[in-house]
């Protein structure tokens, strides 16, 4: 990407393996572009302050808080949102383990669990705690969320 000299720019974003071309403002966060310009409302606005993780998406296999990222920074990356996950083990586990109540935090939690499983099939307890601590569930369903993640981990073959 070359220097953008404009504060209004046309950008192509790779989201869930589809290319989206949109005109955005340089100051638009990825969260606002996903929701307001592309109609991908799975990433939720919570605190808008980087604290809650409701807006989590996966960028180049890493979890990122989309309220803390300018959309322009996501140019030339692979973005995965909850709309890009279809019937994955972690989604099934959330249903089976009753890992949500109101569901507001759920897309963010599913994506951080999915990102963890992408890079590590058998994370340590410390790693699980470290990663899950990035997100907040106001319904406090933490135990069920952790159970869901562990049930997927336990179903994976040891390497």
């Amino acid at each position: 990407m070359n220097s953008y000299s404009a504060n209004r720019l046309k950008i192509t974003l790779n989201i869930n393996s589809e290319m989206y071309e949109k005109e955005i403002l340089a100051s638009d966060t990825l969260l606002s572009v996903l929701r307001d310009k592309l109609g991908l409302t799975g990433a939720k606005p919570g605190c808008l302050n980087g604290d809650c993780g409701a807006c989590t998406v996966i960028i180049d296999k890493r979890p990122m808080k989309s309220c803390m990222l300018l959309a322009v920074e996501a140019f030339d990356t692979e973005i995965l949102t909850i709309e890009g996950l279809k019937d994955t083990p972690i989604q099934r586990a959330f249903v089976e383990q009753f890992a949500f109540q109101c569901g507001y935090c759920t897309p963010g939690f599913i994506l951080i669990c999915h990102a963890l499983l992408l890079t590590d099939h058998h994370p340590t307890n410390e790693k699980i705690t470290t990663w899950l601590s990035s997100n907040i569930c106001r319904c406090t369903g933490y135990q069920e969320i952790e159970n869901a993640l562990r049930s997927v981990i336990n179903s994976l073959p040891l390497e």
Binding site: M1, N2, S3, Y4, S5, A6, N7, R8, L9, L25, A26, S27, D28, T29, L31, S32, L48, N49, G50, G53, T56, R62, P63, M64, K65, C67, M68, L69, L70, V72, E73, I112, T129, T130, W131, S133, S134, N135
Partner: protein, 279 residues
């Protein structure tokens, strides 16, 4: 979501970044250098930071460097904090930075952003203060190198138009015995109260602090007292308190009295682990 718009630039070289800053300043755009950007976005949303142009440093190769070269570890300022969790060449930096914010945020927060930010804590600077590291700074007058202990006083003392490019740490410090203790208001993930980082070199323990005062610091005077083998640990700690900078933070995370209590117990723990001689 920010309430105002700005121009976005991603220069590919140090010279381009410095030149852009000068041009944008002349155009009265009030440019700011942008690295992780979390503080700019957070404060921008509240209209506490206003700029007409951001200059993203992540496209500059020197700011993304992470190499051990000529017995020095060179660390680029635009590397995310999780880089140090994945590449553990400097264990004290790994230990200190993995306590900053949360895992996902550390994919975005950068070393330079944390050190040059406005928040009190800025813990990422502590390992570099303890290891007498050197900073490389770029600006309108070219590139300069400086000892971090001479240039970090409350904040990194940058002139207008300058930015932090890299930090260099001598290899001999990387594996020295160390400890970094972060105490929080509540639980393992609550808001930070204080962090004390310590490193043992040549039989002396070095100490650096965050969350005690409105800025991180290392004090040679305090270190001399804490290493005075004529005194007991208890006396070293109580004597050193006379030389703490002021003010001691007194806020909703903890009163100044509580912070001092936590500091005392933390220093006692550090002595028990890194063990200077006790009379």
């Amino acid at each position: 979501m920010l309430s105002y718009n700005f121009d976005y630039y991603q220069p590919k070289s140090i010279d381009e970044a410095v030149g852009l800053y000068q041009t944008l300043k002349a155009e009265e755009k009030k440019p700011i250098y942008y690295s992780g950007g979390t503080e700019i976005i957070t404060l921008g949303r509240l209209n506490l930071v206003k700029t007409g142009a951001v200059i993203d440093l992540k496209g500059i190769p020197e700011c993304m460097e992470y190499t051990l070269h000529n017995h020095q570890l060179i660390i680029g300022s635009a590397l995310s904090l999780n880089t140090f969790e994945e590449n553990r060449l400097f264990p004290l930096l790994t230990l200190t930075s993995k306590e900053i914010a949360d895992y996902t945020s550390r994919n975005k927060i950068t070393l330079g952003g944390n050190i040059c930010g406005q928040i009190f804590y800025r813990e990422a600077v502590l390992p570099f203060l303890l290891t007498d590291s050197y900073v490389t700074i770029a600006g309108p007058n070219g590139i300069r190198k400086a000892a971090i202990n001479e240039i970090f006083y409350c904040t990194l003392q940058l002139e207008e138009g300058e930015f932090l490019v890299q930090i260099a740490t001598e290899e001999k410090f990387l594996m020295a015995p160390h400890l970094s203790v972060k105490k929080r208001k509540q639980w393992d993930t609550g808001y930070p109260l204080i962090t004390v980082a310590a490193l043992k070199k040549d039989e002396e323990i070095r100490f650096a602090f965050s969350g005690l005062c409105p800025y991180p610091f290392r004090s040679k005077q305090i270190e001399t007292i804490l290493n005075n083998q004529d005194l007991s640990y208890k006396d070293r700690i109580s004597t050193s308190f006379q030389y703490l900078p002021k003010p001691i933070l007194n806020d909703t995370e903890g009163s100044s009295g509580y912070r001092m209590f936590v500091l005392e117990t933390t220093l006692t723990n550090i002595f028990s682990v890194l063990g200077g001689e006790e009379k």
